[in-house]
Symmetry: D2
Subunit: 340 residues, 4 copies
C-alpha cells in the first residue's frame, strides 16, 4: 500500500444508517471524514466528535468547503434529489442511500437536470456488495450454472417499522421490495414484466395505512427468465435474506447467516443454529464496508460508479409497476418504462 491523498468526505445524516457509514468512513485508510451534517445538530456533533470530524447543522456549510471530494447522503428520502443536484453540480462525488425519491417524476426531473453527468454518483444498494450475493453473482456471470433461468429471492424483515415510518415509506414495494427488485436487476438487468400480489395477514396498522404486510412478486426477464420474490414485514426467526439462482447446469444458493457456527443437539431438536443476524445493520455490515471500498475506489480512479443513478431509477420503475399490478390484478409491462 503506497501512501495516497485521503479523500475528504462529508456525511449528510447522522441517524441509524448514517452512523454505520460514519464508523466505516472513520476506519477507512483512504478517507478523511471531514464533516457530519444533520439538522439535529446535537446528533451531528455527537457523531462528528467521535471521529474528529466537524459538525454542521446545514449542508450549505459543508458545500462551502472547497476541499470536499465526496458526500454520503443518508438524510431522509425527500432531501435526496436536491442534495444530489447540489453535489454533482459542484463536481463532488455522491454515494446516496436508496431510494433516489419516492416520486418517479421527481427522479426523471433530476435525471434531466443531471444530463448524464452521473458517473460519480453511486446508489447505496448495499446488498449487491454482500460477500455471499456478490460471490454468487460472480459465479453466475462466470457461467457456472449455465444460462440463468430462474431466480428465487426471499426477503423478510424481522418486524414491521412503526406506523409513522410506514405512512411515509411509499408502501412495501417502494420501501422494502425495492431492494429485491434491484437484486433481480443485478442478475437480470433487462426486466420486461412485473406482477405483484400484496396481502394483509398480521398487522392492523399496516393495513390501516393502506399498505400490505406481505407480498409476492413475479418478474420476467428479456430472455424468459422468471424471478420470484417473497416478502414479509415480519419474521419470527430474524432477518431472512436468501437468494437462489437456477440455471441450465446447476444452482447456486446463498443462505442466511448465524453469528457463529455453533449448533446445539438436545432432546427436542438437533443441529439447531443460533438465530440469524437480527437486521440489516448486522446482516449487511460487511456489505456496507465493501460498498464504501468500491465507492472510494471509483472516486479515486474517476471510473463510473455502479450501481448508479439509472439503477436507482429502474428499481423505482419496477416498484411502481409492482404497486400498480397489486392494485389492478394485472401484469405490468415495463420494458418501455425502463428505456425512457
Amino acid at each position: 500500500m503506497t501512501a495516497q491523498k485521503k479523500l475528504n468526505i462529508a456525511l449528510f445524516g447522522s441517524g441509524r444508517i448514517g452512523r454505520v457509514h460514519a464508523a466505516n468512513l472513520a476506519a477507512h485508510p483512504g478517507v478523511n471524514l471531514a464533516w457530519v451534517a444533520d439538522p439535529v445538530v446535537d446528533s451531528a456533533r455527537e457523531v462528528a466528535g467521535r471521529y474528529g470530524a466537524r459538525a454542521a447543522g446545514t449542508t450549505d456549510e459543508v458545500f462551502a468547503d472547497p476541499s470536499l471530494d465526496a458526500v454520503l447522503i443518508c438524510s431522509p428520502t425527500p432531501t435526496h434529489v436536491d442534495l444530489i443536484r447540489a453535489a454533482i453540480g459542484r463536481g463532488i462525488a455522491v454515494l446516496c442511500e436508496k431510494p433516489i425519491d419516492l416520486d418517479i417524476e421527481r427522479v426523471r426531473s433530476c435525471a434531466a437536470d443531471l444530463a448524464g453527468n452521473t458517473s460519480q454518483l453511486m446508489m447505496g444498494f448495499n446488498r449487491r456488495f454482500d460477500p455471499a450475493f456478490a460471490a454468487l453473482h460472480r459465479r453466475v456471470a462466470a457461467g457456472e450454472i449455465g444460462r440463468l433461468e430462474q431466480l428465487t429471492i426471499i426477503s423478510r424483515d424481522p418486524a414491521p417499522a412503526p406506523a409513522a415510518y410506514i405512512a411515509a415509506s411509499g408502501g412495501i414495494f417502494r420501501d422494502m421490495s425495492i431492494h429485491d427488485l434491484d437484486m433481480a436487476r443485478f442478475f437480470i438487468p433487462h426486466i420486461v414484466e412485473v406482477t405483484a400480489h400484496g396481502a394483509n395477514v398480521f398487522s392492523d396498522y399496516v393495513a390501516d395505512a393502506g399498505d400490505f404486510d406481505s407480498a409476492v412478486l413475479t418478474l420476467r426477464g428479456g430472455d424468459g427468465e422468471l424471478v420470484s420474490i417473497t416478502n414479509s414485514r415480519h419474521s419470527a426467526y430474524g432477518y431472512d435474506q436468501r437468494l437462489e439462482a437456477f440455471g441450465g447446469q446447476g444452482m447456486l444458493r446463498a443462505d442466511n447467516i448465524s453469528p457463529t457456527t455453533v449448533r446445539s443437539f438436545g432432546t427436542l431438536a438437533v443441529e439447531g443454529a443460533d438465530p440469524y443476524e437480527p437486521f440489516f445493520l448486522e446482516r449487511y455490515a460487511a456489505a456496507y464496508r465493501s460498498e464504501l471500498d468500491r465507492f472510494i475506489e471509483s472516486v479515486r480512479t474517476r471510473t463510473p460508479c455502479s450501481p448508479g443513478f439509472d439503477d436507482g431509477m429502474a428499481a423505482l420503475v419496477l416498484a411502481d409497476a409492482a404497486a400498480e399490478s397489486a392494485a389492478t390484478g394485472k401484469t405490468i409491462t415495463v420494458e418501455g418504462a425502463l428505456q425512457k
Copy 2:
C-alpha cells in the same frame, strides 16, 4: 397385529407407476394382489407372474370377479373416468392416479354420475404422504408456526418428458404443476386466486408443442395466504422437491433428500452431498407405501378416503386457471369455480 381378511385388489396398468404399486401391494400384509390388467397382455403377465396374481387383457374380466374389494387405476389418463364409474358403480373402492381427466367437463360429468358416492375413492396425490411433507403438515396444523401466511414450493423435474408425452400431457400446469397445486391445497384448501407465468428457456420441442418448460405460479388463499410455486422441466442436480411454510411464529422447511448422509471435503468444495434422488419413483418411494397404507385402512374401516374426488377436481380447476392466467396475463379468480 391380529389376522384380518386380506383385501382382494386389482391393478389396472402395468407401466412405470403401476409396477411401483404392484411391488407395494405384494408386500402389504393386508392385501392379496388378485389381478393385473393391461391391454399389453405380456406386460400384465410379467407383473402378475412376479407376484402370483392373475393377468388380464381387459378390465371387464377383472370386474367379473365378485371377490374384488378395490382397484388401483394406473392406466392412461383418458381411461380414468370410465374406470372410476365402473368400479364405484359396483361398490368397489378405487385408488386412482392423478389426474381424474385433463378435461374439466368430463370430470364434472363424472362427478354428476357419482352423485357424491365418492367416500371410497382416493386420488393418488402421493406427495401428501411423503414423510417430510406429511410431518410438516401435521406441525403446521398443530400450530407450531402460528397462522400460516406464506407457502413456497419449488418443484423441478430432472429432465423433460419426451415430445410424445408432452403433446398428450395437457401442458405443464395440468401435468406437472398440478402436484404443487394439490400440495398448496393440502395446506390451504381454500384457494381464491391463481396467477401463472410460463416461459420457454431451454427446450425447443416443448416450445414447439405450445407448452412451457418453466413456470412460476402465485396463489392467494381465502385468509390472505400467498403461495409461490416455481417449476422447471429440468434440473441439473436431480429431482428438486422442496416446501417452506412460513407463519407468524416461525417457519418449517422440507428439503431434498440425498441417498445417504455422506458428505465430501476436497480442495474445490466442502460438505458436498450426494446428488438428490433422481426422480419421483425414488424420491417418493416411502410416500407411495404410505399412501397405500392409508387407502387400505380407509377401505378396511369404510371411512372416507382423502385426498378424494373433490381434491382431484379442485387441482384441475386450479391448473386450468393457471393455464388461462398464463395465456391472458391476468389473475384468475377461482373461488366460484371451486364451489361448483
Copy 3:
C-alpha cells in the same frame, strides 16, 4: 428376476433383534422362513405365526429338518458357538449376531473345531451394511480421499442398558465398542495397537458393576493410520453414530440420520432438525435388510461370506486389548494376537 428356489431358513431367537430379522426374512423374495425357535415357546409361536413359519422350543427340532439351508442365530451370546458348530457341521449356512462369544478361548476353540470351514458363516456386524458407511467405504476404497490416514468414530447409545444386561455384557469394550472396532477393521483390517481409556461420569449402577459408562479408544493401523473412537452409554439427543475418514486428498463424513428433512426456524434456534433415530433398530433398519440380502446372495452362490468368523474373532481380540489397556494404562500391541 427369474424364479429361483427359495432358501429354507430358520431363526434362532425371537427377541428384539430376532424380530427384526424375522420381518426381513418374511419380506425377502428369496427366502422361506421355515422355523422360529426359542426356548420361550410362546414367543417363538407368536413370531412364527405372524409369518406362517413353524415354531420350535429347541434347536434340535429345527436341525432335524433336512431341507434347512441356513440359520440366523439371534439367541443369547453363550449359545452362539455351539449353534455355529452344530450348523456348520451339518453344512448349514449361518448368519450369527455378534459377538461369537465373550471368551476368546472359547472362540479359538470353536475356530479349531471349524478347521477353516467358515466360508458360509457370516457375522452380523450390521453397520458395515449401513448405506452411508458402505458408500463411504466404497469411496475410500476407490481412492477418492487418497491414502487413508485418520479415522474418527463417534458412537453413543441413547441410554445405558439395564443393570442385568450390563452385568452379563462383558463390559463396554466387548459389548459396545466392539461394533466400532469392527468398523475400524472394515476400513483398516490390519490393526497393530490398541489404547483405551474408560471413565464413569453419569451412571452409578454401571460403575457398581465394575464397568465404564464412557470410553475413548485409539488404534494404530499397520500403515500408521490412527483411529479415534469415542463412546458413551448415553446421549440426550438420540443414538449418535458418526464416522469420518480423513485421507491425503480429502475427507468423507457420514452423519446421523433424522427421520425426515424437516427443519424448524423459531425465535430461539434456526435450522433445527428432528431428533435422530432413537436406537439401532431404527437407525440400522436398512443395514439389517442389506446384510440379509448379502448373506442370501453368498449362500445362494456359495461364495464366501463377509464379514466372517475371523472378523468376529479379531473384533473380540481388539476389545480384549482395549479392556486390558484401560485396566493397565498401557498401549497393547495386538499384531501377534490377530495373526493367531
Copy 4:
C-alpha cells in the same frame, strides 16, 4: 463511549503474526501504536510507517520510552522469557504469543523470577477468543448441556510448515497440539492424564526431523472427563478447526467456517460449500481482534489477564507429557506437574 487516554503500545516482531496485531492495534480506538521493533529494521520500518508508529531495531530503545503502557511480544519463541521479564519488571503489561518457551525449565525459572507478578501478562491463546468457541464455552459454563463429559477436538493445518520451521518447532505436540491442549484446559482446567500417539503418514521431511506429521491425544480431566484430540499437519480441504462438547443433557458443536454461505448444486454433488478459510490468519481474524480487546480492557482496568502465565505453563506441561507418552507408549500422569 467516553474519551479515554489511549494506551501506548509497542509491538515486538513484525512478521506474519506481528502484522496481524499491528493492523488490529492501529484500528483499535483505545490504542496508540507507538513502536514497532524488529532486528530486521526494514521490516520494522515498513510496518511502523504504515501506521504512523516509530521503528526500532532493538527492544532497549523501546523500553527506554517512559510512556509505554504495554507490549505485544510476537518475536521468535526463544526471546519470549527475557522480554517478559524486562517488561513485567518495568511494570509494563504484556500480551505474549504462545508458547512462553519450548523448555519447561526456562519457563519455571521465569515463573520464579516473576514471583506471582503476572496479573498484567496475557498469553496469546487466540482460539479462546474465537466467537464460536467462546460462545460454546459460555453455553457449557451456563449449564446448557449439563455436566461436561467428553470433548472432541479436531485440528488440522492446511500444510506442514517448511523443514527449517519444523526443526525449531519443538515438535508437533509443543508447536501444534499445544493450542488444542489449551482449548481442552479452557473447558476442563484440571487435566490429570495425557496419552498421545504420533504417526508419520505423508511427509518424509517431518519424519526425517524426528517429528510426527499426525497425532491423536487423549486427556482425562479430574472429574472423569475424556478429551480426544486429532491432529494432522495437512488437510486437503483447508484449515480444519472443530470442537464438540458433549454433556449429560446435550451436545454443542462448532464447525469450520466457509467465507460465504454460498452452496452449489450440480450433477456430481449438491449443497457444496466453498473451501474453508485457508489458515489461522483468516480463520481466527475475529479472534485476534477480540483477544486484543480483552487485553486492552484488562490493562485499562488493571484486572487480571486471562489466559495468563500459568495457562501458558500448563499447556507446555501437557505438551511435554504428550511427547513423553508418544515416545514411551504410556499414559502420563500430570496432576502433580500442573500443581507445581
